[in-house]
Symmetry: C3
Subunit: 344 residues, 3 copies
């Protein structure tokens, strides 16, 4: 952790908010309420942790206006304590600047353009005609296919694959094991056999996109697969060929999106949700985790479809009826028809 | 895209079908109806895109007999427009032939056999006793364990791992991040601790198999894990130890198959389906996406088991009853018993 | 397979159990009942394979006391035949000792400590300040970030990434494509945009942990993500930031665990289960495959929540009622209210 010392007044000067208590209180680290000790700044964003606020040993905390009096510690009252705190973490932990240059063990084919301030790590491969932008770092073992282009200011972790012709915008963060631009899953039946349809589209990714570890984004079949600006994908997400994901949409881990589905802007998709192909999801849609989306969604809103768990014995008793719901409903209908007041 | 020019008559000479309109119409590219412009061939396979057919700027289209008159453009009428079009894409976009040879940065252990026309990319590792077949390309950063054998004509993308002793047939296509032959998940309880069971089987893969990015196929515990010919696996599929997958079966993204399950031939398994271990699935079974298969399936057919989504408020009201279905059914039964006509 | 010959009496001397039949019966391999031939030892742990016991060509078998007379073959009767057999497999198939040393193509930054008996494979990268313990093997293409520490006796397969500062205990087994210590998925809303929260915690992994292929374990946001001793993770598991997984817990393939969830000791989590964030799961909890856990579990037990599959037509008829369960229940309630005996 950094050894910078900051006073509360320095933080408020930078990020706004109001100080309650000594504005010269110094902090040099950030920590959770539970782990914090002297010198730490902490925060409360979720009221369920209010007990921990009472017990924290932090030197100062960031609170919302509603929690202003919930602690006697020196504190910063901010409209959005989580965002305020995030800015402090970022201030104390700037991403290390890469050391520019191409590692001696990297292979850069002729015709690739590596910006002077880019860093290409050990055992990387950059194909002919590819471009790596200014200040972008490729961690060890990355693969950049021919003609792929990565914008400036990116942080590409170790062992990422970006296939031929794909385009990644500025300030991308791509985590280890991500695969951008593998072939989409496209086959035509030819009698009993499958005939592979060459996948000749690209993946085109906007600016400020983050892609999680072991996430896969397939190249388009004919047209491109597109991620707009500020899309955030967690780990082990699968994006099929020819999908389009709108700006500022965030997708949690283990989500699968089948081919040719368009997801709007500002959507939030919970972990392990599964979205069928050829759908259109509107802007501002929130999808609960573990929900299977099988139809287009035209209206912003919050959508769910998750089977609730319970103790196995109870589940066994209840779940057996799922295969008899139609019959059960028919029995109810019969009872309704036979009600005395309906009898002749 | 390729700059080859082809006349409709050339295509029909090769692939069959009937020309309506000028047989000398030239095409040089392929595109979707929406993206197409002059010089492009497009196609209609899904009637939902008929509006786009009306508006397309393509030079020619491929249609089914049923849609023969749905466009005034020069057109090819083919029994299966999707397959016909796929063949044209393939004709225009042949996979580039690899440049044979072993890259200077690759490590090939003594005793490995690299066919003269094989290409071993930068930073590959090929262990002793392994074999890479004629015309097979290993992209940069592949790992081929000792004694593993890869047949001819394969295209193994960057950063694939094929572990010791595994066998891959001819014309394999394996995408980045796939792991073939990691240990299966096998432990015996030894009091509170787990005792690891060495996984000494292999993965044996037939000809014409395609394996998606970041898909994992575990080696067998004692016997082998087997994929028969022409199996197609999408991205992020997990195949447990000792599974057998029948010829021509296609499995979409994010499917998980637990150990020792046998899946028949010509099956199609939708994305994110999950299949328990030690099951037998018949030939010609289709499983809907996001369905959990917990029992063997003896009969060909189409199987589903997916909880439908709805707006969260409605879901909350409805889903609460899932934990009371048995009680609800008992209430219906009581009402039935108390019907007047059943009263003594 | 190994060519060692062992007599049944040798096995019982080592591992206990009782011999029925000739104690000098020699075995040199292990096999399933179905595959076994002369010279093979096999076993029966699951009664569903009793037919195969009758037909096996094995030289000897391991049986439970209950199955003592189920075969006429020379046999070892052991309390836990599966564990006994596992020990024999382990005896016949010891993990090969790595050849110590750093491969000429590996990059080890100054200040990294590689134990004299450690093996660092081709094209590995080990960052400054990292440590690789005695007898630990890094397969080809591994990435070990700065300051990461890997204990002794580990087997790290090809192409694993262990990021800066993470800690892995003794005797770890980590399979290809696993990513330890990528950033957690943490963003604060800043108007329409996302503000990335630097993830400054670590991943800290105990002793005797096994991690499957392409599994991802994110580093903590502020505090650490922790896996206690003897945790076993299968392939394609996702562990979010700040999770804690208790000792001896085993998690099957494709499970996703969202951030800040604590799972107890000795739990078993079935494949493709999904666990929400910020939950607490007690010790000794068993969760069925494909179950979504959305609330904390305070009591040991077996929990399920899986939608049963059926033929698609039947499913369609039944599943439609899931969106009308509340209305159906209301109809039942109305019928109950209108029962004659309740009528005035």
């Amino acid at each position: 952790m950094a050894a910078t010392r900051l006073r509360l007044r320095d933080l408020v000067d930078r990020f706004g908010g109001e100080i309650v208590g000594d504005p010269d209180t110094e902090i040099e680290r950030v920590a959770t309420l539970r782990s914090a000790g002297p010198g730490d700044l902490s925060f409360l964003a979720n009221p369920r942790y209010r007990n921990e606020l009472a017990a924290t040993r932090a030197s100062a905390v960031v609170l919302s206006p509603a929690e202003r009096e919930a602690s006697a510690l020196p504190r910063i009252v901010a409209h959005d304590p989580y965002l305020f705190f995030a800015r402090v973490v970022d201030l104390l932990h700037p991403a290390p600047a890469p050391a520019p240059g191409v590692h001696a063990t990297a292979v850069v084919e002729p015709g690739a353009e590596i910006a002077p301030g880019a860093a290409v790590g050990a055992h990387c491969f950059v194909g002919g005609g590819a471009a790596v932008g200014e200040g972008t770092e490729l961690g060890p073992g990355c693969y950049v296919g021919r003609g792929a282009r990565i914008g400036p200011g990116g942080r590409i972790a170790a062992r990422v694959a970006i296939h031929a012709g794909c385009v990644v915008g500025a300030r991308a963060i791509i985590h280890s094991g991500a695969v951008i631009g593998a072939d989409g899953f496209g086959f035509a039946r030819d009698g009993e056999r499958w005939f592979k349809i060459p996948q000749i589209g690209r993946v085109v990714i906007g600016d400020d996109v983050e892609i999680g570890a072991n996430t896969t984004i397939d190249r388009g079949a004919l047209d491109d697969t597109v991620l707009e600006d500020d899309v955030k994908l967690d780990n082990q997400v699968q994006v099929g060929h020819n999908c389009r994901i709108g700006a500022h949409t965030a997708i949690a881990g283990c989500v699968g999106i089948a081919g040719s589905t368009a997801i709007g802007r500002n959507c939030m998709i919970g972990g392990a949700a599964m979205i069928s192909g050829h759908l259109t999801i509107a802007d501002n849609v929130v999808i609960a985790g573990a929900t299977a989306i099988t139809k287009s969604i035209a209206k912003p809103g919050y959508y769910s479809g998750l089977y609730p768990f319970e103790e196995n014995k109870a589940w066994t008793r209840n779940a057996v009826w799922l295969r008899h719901l139609d019959a059960l409903a028919a029995r109810v209908r019969r009872l309704e028809r036979e009600r005395p007041e309906e009898a002749p």
